[in-house]
Amino acid sequence: MKTAIIVFPGTNREKDMADAIEAVSGQRPEFIWHKETSLDNYDLIVLPGGFSYGDYLRCGAMAAHSPIMKELLRQAERGTRIFGVCNGFQMLIETQILPGALLRNNSLKFICKHVHLKAENTTESFTHKLSNTPVIHVPIAHGDGNYFANDNILDDIKAHTQIAFRYCDENGDTTQGNPNGSTENIAGIYNKRKTILGMMPHPENATLDHHENLSGVGLFQGILDGLG
């Protein structure tokens, strides 16, 4: 099993992600600089959190035009598994690999805190290990995580069971606990084929013994399960 973590200028949660993947899989991922052009040898490609290009223009917008992105699009079409977190999710949205938009938090402030998430689709790929424990407790750390989708997109992603995570309270009530104004509490979505997951929260920060909790482990097990 080989994992690539793409590093852009301004990426800053690549270490957190590598530590999480290593803790769950026993294998250290490789860091791939954004000027590379091939991702052929990897089973999983991760776009980690950070402030690529300083979040100038729009979060993820400049990274979406990096040399590696052409290759990422090719791998996305091929069905290679891709996981984007926070700034990585913003890039997947900016490249239109995933639908919708990410707006400024409704508080207009950066927010860092632990939130509850409910896995909405625990039968498929990345989230299949969460069927017994669909509510996980992981941090968010973003200023632009307010997921927006218009009615057409919303109907479409619902029809294709693409909603992976919703914000909720500790009891799993998804009408509560929305930290940023996201449409229908949506925190993460799949592509139609369920080979690509993007989410704002940071499950990688809930995977090690010294973290606040370990509820991110199940997600990583699901992501890595069945890969090489």
């Binding site: 200028p9 800053n12 270490k15 999480a20 402030f51 300083g54 100038y56 950066f110 090690l208």
Partner: protein, 741 residues
């Protein structure tokens, strides 16, 4: 080529405008044996500014103890360095950006945070934690809300983007800061001991390389601004505030650390206050060499810049380094990768002069040793520090005083109220090593402790970090206040189980030319020195910020201490939250006896009065060591030091942190007992009360049973309050204040 002597157009009047007095101007004439050029005058004026030369403070800073076996580098470099075992070092320093933050709160705060991080990674340390200490004016002052909003957003904007967790800090409000807020930022970095870089060490005939962002006209004379007081109405004369770009700094960080893995850098210095001037002079002075700069080669953001502007610009995210001759090309490749400017802008020489060429002319030729060594040192007269209003202690305890009403007032007062609105904007978790972070209730890391805790990657050890100062004590009694700031830092680290190792300081005071301010300053330093010595807690770096006054109104003396400690096994680190019902609550260190300068007197009786609490350094040391031993032996379950608000506030915070476990207080006592802020005290909980009491008896440590953890309420003298209600009280003030309600 023309020379500076042909441009000798300075006058004493011009010098005065640049903050140089007649005597200082004469010294310049003597050094140069001619009239300085405009550029040279600018260089003298910034190098001899209070900010760069420490001319009012240097004499007294010498009194601080700076050595210990674990100190690798004390004051004098970009930051201090300590040994944390395994061949690793912690590099840290605190710095102020007070004046710019008042003018332009967002940019002032960002560049403060950016500057201190640069100090750390200049030395080879990867920043692993940011801290801060903030002081704002009275909440009712018309500017306060706007300043809080901008400063917090600025700190968040820079630290979050850099991917360095902001793990803790402190925030106070007081009217003495109405015209001068304090923004003190601290960074702690981690390095391998064999990869630490210094400003010293350069030799003649080596290339001088400029890296980072381009130079513009921003912040010219920032160092001089930081060395004068504000007056009403002259705001338009203030120079521009620098603008921060955390993205460029992130690139600079990664590029520098990448280059530092190679063996190419001889010496390196960041361009902070006084930019290219101070960095080139530092490198020349510390290496005992000269420097010649070809300023045409400096990467420039604006057109037609003069030598004067280039030398005095405080554009951010820049560094100067001396490379091993021949390594320029290899070094440049790394900076190309990160899309950063890299330019060879001069060479080191053996004539100990600072020479600047531009447009085919020489604009400056100053001998470096006198520029540095002959900078004025003032033994400013000390008068008597202002005395606090007296407090008639015989008036307390009051008859029929309602403890709960007082507790509620304190919990919701601006200084004690939850600062969630602030710290939730800081990413405290990035890097994935933070195990205790800001706040009491529902912290981001899940743990509340007296110090922030950041684990060292790949090791079980962790650093404990805290920033502390109680300005009202420093005003009432500068010497005791200085001692107290260090003692509280020592306690906060000890309460987590970590061993306090060293401190940095940020000495914020008013105008040193006023004898009563100088008395506060000297008292504060001597207090810090006394405590630092007694507690084996040396000062390894620091910053002085004077002239924090507006129209003759000075801030409260605020010598902030940034402390760092080490715990070998982070799983043993102690939090402050109650853990289970039925555990004994014990007070270590004696009972409360004096209400002078307590928050209780200020908030409940509206009087800023009385003497500051006295600090018994022997007792601090003994009690701290005792607490650390209990934690290391796993004999206690929670620990919290007693500070602002006294014993009852400490117990209440331990209950609030747990969210669900309250306390039944079995002692019947008055408000002096509950709210006094006597020092050297801790509250602990334990499952084995007898064991602790026996140990206390054996070691002659004062110990008192206060009650036990119980239900989800706080019960005292027959009254009860729910923890939930207490939390609500504590959480509402700042949030509502920032909404403007």
């Amino acid at each position: 080529m023309t020379n500076p002597a042909q441009k000798s157009n300075s006058t004493p009047e011009l010098a005065a405008e640049y903050g140089l007095n007649a005597e200082e101007y004469q010294m310049i004439l003597d050094i140069l044996e001619r009239t300085p050029s405009f550029t040279e005058l600018g260089i003298f004026s910034v190098m001899w500014s209070e900010h760069c030369s420490y001319k009012s403070s240097r004499l007294h800073l010498k009194k601080l103890p700076t050595e210990a076996p674990w100190v690798i580098q004390g004051p004098g470099e970009n930051a201090g360095v300590i040994d944390i075992g395994d061949g690793q070092a912690a590099i840290f320093k605190m710095e102020s950006h007070n004046h710019p933050s008042y003018i332009e709160p967002y940019q002032g705060a960002t560049t403060g945070v950016g500057g201190i991080m640069r100090d750390i990674f200049t030395m080879g340390g990867r920043p692993i934690a940011n801290m801060n200490a903030l002081r704002f004016g009275d909440p009712s002052h018309p500017k306060t809300r706007h300043l809080v909003d901008g400063v917090v957003a600025g700190i968040a904007g820079y630290g979050n983007c850099m991917g360095v967790p902001t793990v803790g800090g402190e925030t106070n409000f007081h009217k003495s800061y109405n015209g001068n807020i304090l923004v003190n930022a601290m960074t702690v970095g981690l390095a391998d001991q064999d990869k630490i870089y210094y400003a010293r060490g350069a030799e003649p005939d080596m290339p001088i390389v400029y890296i980072g962002a381009k130079t513009g006209r921003d912040g010219i004379h920032g160092a001089t601004m930081a060395s004068a007081e504000f007056g009403d109405g002259n705001e338009e004369n203030r120079p521009t505030v620098q603008v921060g770009d955390p993205f460029t700094e992130k690139l600079l960080l990664e590029a520098c650390l990448e280059l530092m893995q190679e063996d190419m850098i001889v010496s390196i210095q960041d361009m902070g206050a006084a930019g290219l001037t101070s960095s080139s002079v530092e490198i020349a002075d510390k290496g005992g060499i000269g420097v010649i700069l070809e300023l045409d080669d400096v990467p420039q953001r604006e057109q037609n810049m003069s030598a004067y502007e280039l030398m005095l610009s405080e554009s951010q995210e820049r560094m100067l380094m001396i490379l091993k001759p021949g390594s320029e090309e290899d070094a440049k490749k790394i900076f190309d990768k990160w899309d950063l400017d890299f330019a060879v802008i001069g060479r080191t020489t053996n004539d100990k002069h600072l020479k600047l060429n531009m447009y085919g002319e020489c604009w400056c030729d100053i001998p470096v040793p006198p520029l540095v060594d002959k900078s004025p040192i003032y033994d400013r007269p000390q008068g008597e520090a202002p005395k606090p209003d007296p407090l008639d202690e015989t008036g307390y305890p009051l008859p029929n005083n309602d403890l709960f009403e007082a507790l509620k007032t304190l919990l919701s007062c601006p200084d004690m109220a939850s600062k969630r609105w602030i710290w939730e904007q800081y990413d405290s978790l990035v890097m994935g090593e933070t195990t205790a972070s800001s706040g009491v209730i529902g912290t981001q890391s899940g743990t509340a402790a007296d110090a922030a805790l950041v684990k060292i990657p790949g090791h079980t050890k962790a650093l404990a970090i805290t920033t502390d100062c109680t300005p009202r004590y420093c005003y009432a009694a500068p010497f005791e206040g200085g001692k107290q700031a260090v003692a509280e830092s020592y306690r906060n680290i000890s309460a987590t189980g970590a061993t306090p190792l060293a401190i940095t300081n940020n000495l914020n005071f008013g105008n040193p030319e006023r004898p009563e301010i100088m008395a506060q300053f000297v008292g504060g330093i001597e207090g810090i020195g006394a405590a630092s010595k007694a507690l084996d807690y040396p000062v390894i770096s620091g910053n002085v910020s004077l002239y924090n006054e507006t129209s003759g109104e000075a801030i409260f003396p605020t010598p902030v201490i940034g402390g760092v400690g080490l715990i070998q096994d982070h799983t043993k680190a102690m939090g402050l939250s109650f853990n289970a019902e039925g555990e004994a609550i014990l007070l270590i260190g004696g009972t409360g006896t004096d209400l002078g300068q307590s928050l209780y007197i200020r908030e409940v009786h509206n009087a800023e009065a009385g003497n500051a609490p006295r600090v018994d350094l022997g007792k601090e040391k003994e009690n701290g060591a005792f607490i650390r031993k209990l934690i290391d032996n796993k004999e206690i379950t929670a620990c919290h030091d007693v500070s602002d608000g006294g014993l009852l506030l400490a117990i209440t915070e331990m209950a609030m942190a747990s969210k669900a476990i309250g306390a039944k207080i079995t002692l019947e006592q008055d408000e002096v007992f509950w709210f006094a802020e006597n020092q050297a005290r801790y509250v602990i909980t334990t499952k084995d009360q007898k064991n602790i009491i026996d140990q206390c008896t054996q070691e002659s440590i004062e110990c008192l049973e206060v009650g036990h953890t119980h239900l989800n309420t706080l019960e005292i003298a027959g009254q009860t309050l729910s923890i939930e209600a207490l939390i609500t009280l504590n959480e509402h003030w700042l949030k509502n204040y920032m909404k403007g309600t």
